[in-house]
Symmetry: C2
Subunit: 294 residues, 2 copies
């Protein structure tokens, strides 16, 4: 029985879609009402939202490692905020919020991507159900998933980071706003139906993308950028990248190729916020997962 | 005779294309060598580039009004920087840089747009020539053009702000990087040929877009956003917008229509940096300009 669903926006202050969806639901809470569950809404990083920046001191969505939450000496704005949020939605071993949905945007062409908090069957079945409704949504496991991860979503094993793109930082996109809103409503409908023993039919198999490695931009020995994502790869998130295909183009025009030995499916291609994390591309493997019987 | 061309990047620190093009040319200055002219390159807002933000204190590209340059009491970082740049490239009435090219990006779908510093025949003829080489470039006069404008380009009557998009803030786009690089080379080739009396043939007519009004987002009485650019208008820069067509979609789903009486051509649609300037869309009129004989 899932009693409480938390819907979070503004974990990054320049990702406006989640901020304005949460504000809408705070103004019209009746939109989130379902018979068998309670929704809580949260703007998680209000100071970053106010200055329209990703963060004030450090990335809030990397402040939720259990060790960091327990470390009283960490007291940047975001570290303090993470501790407040953990009290409100956590703790990790027995969260007050049964399901957490954390709404993000990306400059990558990832459409609507669900990044599950764990491999819990609930997350996989719900994702498979949503994929049956909206065949263009994708399910992607990060390098860090499960409750050891430092992301906000890790406060509960159930739920997702929902990444929506491509959207530039600091702008709203009406089409993706409406599609994300609809998706969240379908999640609430599913949970409500499940609580009432009326689980809708769920496909028995689902395709997921499992992150296996990060690739940085070409840089010189001082760390200065020397190139860009190759035009043939830009906006090609989730498309197959075979060995030997171009990944980067240097500023002086040289092509740099994917030197791995296996077929991969890149995601987070040219995400603005990941330049500082030394990530140009996240490589994933495509997998089929058997969900068994629901 | 045009002796000095200034190529400027990083007027906004989160618009990376100009920053990395200028850095490339600073590393390989021979690429800019032409027989009859000298190029100078400049990263105009290095402090903003270092923090990857549009500006430190205020928008540098609004600091070049003659009154502000003369006002010793204005001493924000960008006001001080504008005065330094005016000494290096100006003054407005007799600039050291004959031609100024200031490289920007936009989150709007404006392709490569030339925003001329004035209606000087040089700017129009060169723009017409470039349009004959690259039919997808556009020529757009802002509401503020001429040397009364507060933009960096206003230090000289000759030259352009070059806007390139759509590009999210904080990212590079390899295709647009290469196309912008090629365009700047063609500008230098044209000026060099003109200096040597070998002006290439120039079309006698050119299409320009003249800004006539700004339109803000729907907001409530506290100034808070109440809606977004309509999905039918998003990314439709330079496409005709007839009276009665939808412009915005409120967060609660109501459509808001263009209520003007004339056909317009919107630009800067949903530009991230213009939310704070209360500009959602810049309306332009399409005009044909007779260039006469070269």
């Amino acid at each position: 029985m899932i009693q409480k669903v938390a819907i979070v926006g503004g974990t990054h202050g320049n990702e406006l879609l989640g901020v304005y969806l949460v504000k809408k639901w705070q103004e019209f809470p009746e939109l989130l009402q379902r018979d068998s569950l309670k929704c809580v809404t949260l703007i998680s990083n209000p100071a970053a939202v106010a200055i329209k920046q990703r963060y004030v001191d450090r990335d809030l969505n990397r402040c939720f490692a259990a060790n960091d939450l327990a470390d009283e000496d960490l007291n940047s704005y975001e570290d303090r905020r993470a501790k407040e949020i953990a009290i409100r939605l956590g703790p990790k071993d027995h969260p007050l919020a049964d399901v957490i949905l954390d709404l993000h945007t990306t400059t990558s062409n990832m459409g609507i991507s669900l990044l599950p908090s764990s491999k819990h069957p609930f997350n996989l079945r719900l994702a498979a159900y949503l994929h049956s409704l909206y065949p263009d949504i994708r399910i992607c496991f990060g390098l860090q998933h499960g409750q050891d991860a430092p992301m906000l979503r890790s406060l509960s094993p159930l739920g997702y980071t929902i990444e929506v793109g491509p959207i530039a930082q600091g702008v709203l996109n009406a089409d993706l706003f409406q599609r994300t809103e609809q998706l969240v409503h379908e999640i609430l409908n599913y949970v409500d139906a499940m609580n009432q023993g009326n689980l809708p039919p769920v496909p028995s198999m689902v395709t997921v993308y499992q992150a296996i490695a990060n690739v940085d931009y070409p840089r010189n020995s001082s760390g200065e950028l020397q190139g860009m994502v190759h035009p043939q790869l830009q906006f090609k998130d989730y498309e197959p990248l075979p060995p030997g295909q171009p990944m980067f183009l240097s500023f002086t025009g040289e092509e740099i190729f994917y030197s791995g030995e296996t077929l991969v499916y890149p995601v987070f291609i040219n995400e603005a916020a990941y330049y500082e994390k030394q990530i140009a591309i996240v490589l994933t493997e495509k997998q089929r997962v058997d969900l068994g019987k629901g």
